[in-house]
Amino acid sequence: MSTTTTTTSNKPSQPPSPPPPQSSQKAEEEENIEIVSDDNDSDFSSIDSEIPFTNPPSHPFPSNPIMIDSLFTTPPPILDPFPTQTSILQSETIDEVLPFLTAQSQQPDLFTYNDFGVPSLRREAHISFLRSSLGRLPGRFVAADASRPWFLYWCLSGLAMLGEDVREYRDAVRETARSMQNPTGGFGGGGGQLSHLATTYAVVLAIALVGGEETYEVIDRRGMWRWLGGLKQRDGGFEVCKGGEEDIRGAYCAAVIITLLDLPLDLTPDSPAYKPDDPSFNLLTGVADYVRRCQTYEGGISGQPSAEAHGAYAFCALGCLALLGHPAKVIPEYLNLPSLLSWLSSRQYAPEGGFSGRTNKLVDGCYSHWVGACFPLIEAALASSSSSSGSSQPAANDSLFSREGLIRYILCCCQDQGKRGGLRDKPSKMSDAYHTCYVLSGLSAGMHQWVLDEDGEGEGEPGWMVLPYLEGEQVFEGRDRVRAVHPVYVIPQGAVRGMKGYFRGKGGF
């Protein structure tokens, strides 16, 4: 009897009977392995050429006149006759994007335009691109050695927005995260690297994205809490790593980590911010004030006090504040909302339609997220503040930015048109995982609207409700809608709920 068992286990499929059905877990593992090994090629670009590109059957190039508002086909109405380096680059960029916006730069076999002159989302190509980027990367990616956790987050978040089920990466995320965790708390860029707020943020979000209790349990929350205490500064901000710089990115990442992991807020005496005479000074004390100090005379937010307003930091500031309390209360309390909104709105250019990161800088697809994703937070703040506190700022009846412009820029200019797939800064740039993630997030912000539930979802937390944005003309095809992501955590709401619920349920470490 026992010998028979041994033989069968040595030979998984017995000749006479059909192969035994594999358990679902096994199947998942196998699929996972296959995906990873698919990308095991040492040359990244050669994988790209091997990825078969499948497109929905393309209907012929639209025969009826394409409906594109002249806003997106002609240079802006006011142009100064005073060329400088900035204006020259700006007009070159307009020249670069116009053929894409007017459906003139197309490879008909790869790009399908609708009647609005907007191509469809190359979902499959972008999925392939992101899956490749999760695989083994060739040696020239060495500059990314300290940001490997970002690759996890960018790719998994991007895949989730494209509607993919990322749970198949659970085991791999678990193992990868373990190899990046330090015994003193937090995650570094890889084995032997110091824990860093940005890499920790990325790993925690990657874990939330794939979910699963076993995955959540990889995180050493006690170590994380102690480590965060060591980064907290007396001025309210956080160093990004021990001895590293202090900036608003650090504050946002810390707020995300603390709230997602439901960490206690107390500081231990070994924290540089510990105040023996003020026991109420905790991890989140003074963070909002730090954010306030980063608003500049332009209305936007800088990375650290006294620097230039920058789109990426605007999102960090708003996201951070939205985690510290009800956005409608906290955001107007610490920031000059009208000047911030004015600055944010100025980031959108025509004819490009996309956002720039700073005054007089060029559009870049990634600001679709950094700037575009600020609007749901601003709109939520305005909607509630006007109804409750009778503030002078009216609620936004309509969208505060041009959704059509943003969607046009993304679908026309940011999609790689070749076999590579992925999304990019602008047509002259190569796609990469970073841009793919944040352009998709911007696309999601453009396609949805968020409503903040006054009562919250319990635990004093605001409840975000998402709806497709349906006002006015929809220039994109319904099948091209991407999944909505939480306006602060930038991962699907279910992933946020899963992780928060798990740790809240634990009570203590």
């Binding site: 142009l79 400088t84 300290a146 920058h310």
Partner: protein, 566 residues
């Protein structure tokens, strides 16, 4: 090995001694045992490869093997031959104990009488040697295929390698003695490894590595990277970390990088701060300048070793110019300045010299990338650290950049910081937010800055940098926006006059700056002229800045005019 009998050791000295040295010297021998008494000068047949020669020698040494084939006695021609063969087999296999000294002696006598070459006795050894000859060289070529010339060259390399290994061993011993504080018995000095000896050893190891690779290829070599070859790193056991098998986004590191990281882990683990660690950080930074951990470790080394900060800054300048987009560099510089500042804070001359040299470098790097965010962030921080807001050179160099490109918003932003964070001109600290009025700002500063902004706006009215600056100055200085109303109106003519069939009519509206309309809308609103404000906003929605239509509409809603007819 044959027993140490005299006869056994040197059966026919001349030939066998030569044979062990080089097979080429082994004489040819016919089958007959009598004639195996060969002489050294006898010519051997032509054999071009090592394998052929080896085979040839084997035949010489084992006159019967070819015939016996599978050790069959019957193949030998005579009984005497059979006896000799038998004796030769037994002599190396039977222990003396089993046959007694006499038996052994008889056996040897038989063998010696026939002058069989002793090396032929041990067939197994021969077979083993043949196996070795079959191995391939580093290029995958069978060593058996070597010509004798090539084979000799290879042997020479092996000898060289052995010598180098011996010398290397001697070096290690010497260093060990130095470590233990040994005293040279002859000179009475403590044993010391000199720098040139280190250097020699380093070169020696490179040579050894080269020879090893040439002789044996790279397989199974283990430690062979640059650091492993460096005698300076002998005492460090690198911490190798392999990514888990299914790791995501794993990078196929170059062997150099992987090795360097494993040494970095080891020295960081042991908290070693030393010149060699500093060198290691430089090496890694060259391979990957975006590695935040190595930068922090570098700073820790510099501070622990109390190295001159200005030297490090000089070194850093070059790295910064080569890596314009890297931001770790700027935090490193920040740490250096934090460390350096206390030593010059009370010396105005040193402080101003340092500020000047920093400014010179910042000007140089901004010329490469005029809007580099990290450079500008560092610059504003540095101004605050050194307290150089009011330094005319600082303001001048910022102005130069605005003159070069009036749309360089980073330069505008820096100007705002210089003027409105100067403790002379404002309330120190962060009592007032950037978007709030500060009562301490002197009127003449506001006048000066308004004038500056207006002058620049006239050059390029649609340049938002100037307008943002102007508005920022007015707000900070507590001025009413209407103080620039007439200035803003310069850029807007005949607003709303375009009308239905506006085009072609002589009095159409002319807007040279949408930002002027924006500001005017706010000015009119402040003054209660809501209709005028609404007109500005409406024209922005309709024509002058349509992409921001949603925002302008929201501003219209804020005027409280109710439903506005389109």
């Amino acid at each position: 090995m044959p027993p140490k009998g005299k006869a056994a050791q040197k059966p026919k000295a001349g030939s066998s001694a030569a044979a062990t040295k080089s097979p080429a010297a082994t004489p040819a021998a016919p089958l007959s045992t009598k004639s195996t008494k060969a002489t050294p000068d006898q010519q051997q047949p032509q054999s071009s490869t090592v394998a052929e020669k080896s085979k040839h020698n084997f035949t010489l040494c084992h006159p019967f093997e070819d015939l016996t084939g599978k050790n069959s006695l019957s193949a030998l021609p005579t009984q005497a031959d059979q006896l000799v063969w038998f004796a030769s087999r037994l002599v190396t296999r039977l222990p003396v104990r089993s046959i007694g000294a006499k038996g052994q002696k008889d056996l040897w006598k038989t063998v010696n009488d026939h002058s069989l070459p002793p090396r032929g006795f041990n067939i197994r050894k021969h077979q083993k040697r043949q196996q070795q000859h079959k191995t391939a060289d580093s290029r995958g070529r069978d060593i058996g295929e070597y010509s004798t010339k090539e084979w000799e060259l290879r042997q020479e390399k092996r000898v060289t390698l052995s010598c180098l290994q011996l010398q290397s061993q001697r070096f290690r011993e010497l260093r060990d003695r130095q470590k233990r504080g040994f005293v040279d018995s002859q000179t009475g000095d403590t044993v010391l490894v000199t720098d040139s000896e280190y250097l020699e050893e380093k070169q020696r190891r490179r040579e050894m590595d080269r020879l090893k690779k040439e002789l044996y290829g790279t397989q199974g070599m283990g430690r062979q990277g640059k650091l492993a070859l460096d005698p300076e790193w002998d005492d460090v056991v690198p911490i190798v970390v392999e990514d888990p098998e299914n790791a995501l986004a794993a990078i196929a590191y170059s062997p150099d990088y992987a090795e360097a990281m494993s040494y970095l882990r080891a020295v960081m683990n042991s908290k070693e701060y030393s010149p060699r660690c500093l060198k290691l950080t430089e090496y890694i930074i060259n391979l990957n300048p975006a590695h935040y951990t190595v930068w922090l470790f570098r700073a820790a080394n510099i501070f622990a070793l109390k190295l001159p900060i200005l030297d490090e800054i000089t070194w850093l300048n070059q790295i910064a110019l080569e890596n314009l987009k890297n931001y770790q560099i700027w935090h490193h510089r920040h740490l250096l300045v934090e460390n350096y500042y206390p030593s010059i804070s009370s010396d105005p001359a040193a402080l101003s010299a340092f500020a000047a040299s920093e400014r010179e470098f910042l000007t140089q790097i901004l010329a490469e990338d005029t809007k580099n965010y990290h450079v500008w962030s560092y610059r504003s921080w540095l101004v605050g650290k050194l307290g150089t807001w009011f330094n005319p050179e600082e303001l001048k160099s910022t102005e130069d950049l605005i003159d070069q490109d009036v749309r360089n918003n980073s330069a505008w932003s820096h100007r705002f910081y210089l003027v409105f964070s100067d403790p002379e001109n404002c309330t120190p600290g962060d009592k007032y937010a950037a978007t709030e009025a500060d009562p301490k700002v002197p009127g003449q500063i506001v006048d000066r800055e308004v004038g500056y902004a207006e002058g620049k706006i006239r050059l390029a009215p649609q340049n938002q940098s100037g307008w943002n600056y102007l508005r920022g100055v007015l707000v900070k200085g507590g001025r009413e926006l209407k103080s620039v109303q007439s200035f803003a109106e310069e850029f807007v003519m005949g607003l709303g006059e375009e009308g239905e069939g506006g085009e072609g009519e002589g009095t159409g509206e002319e807007v040279k700056s949408s930002h002027a309309l924006d500001l005017l809308a706010e000015i009119y609103k402040e003054q209660g002229e809501k209709q005028k404000a609404d007109l500005c906003l409406r024209r922005l929605v309709e024509k002058w800045d349509r992409i921001r239509g949603g925002y302008w509409q929201w501003r219209r809603d804020g005027l409280g005019l109710g439903e506005v007819a389109a």
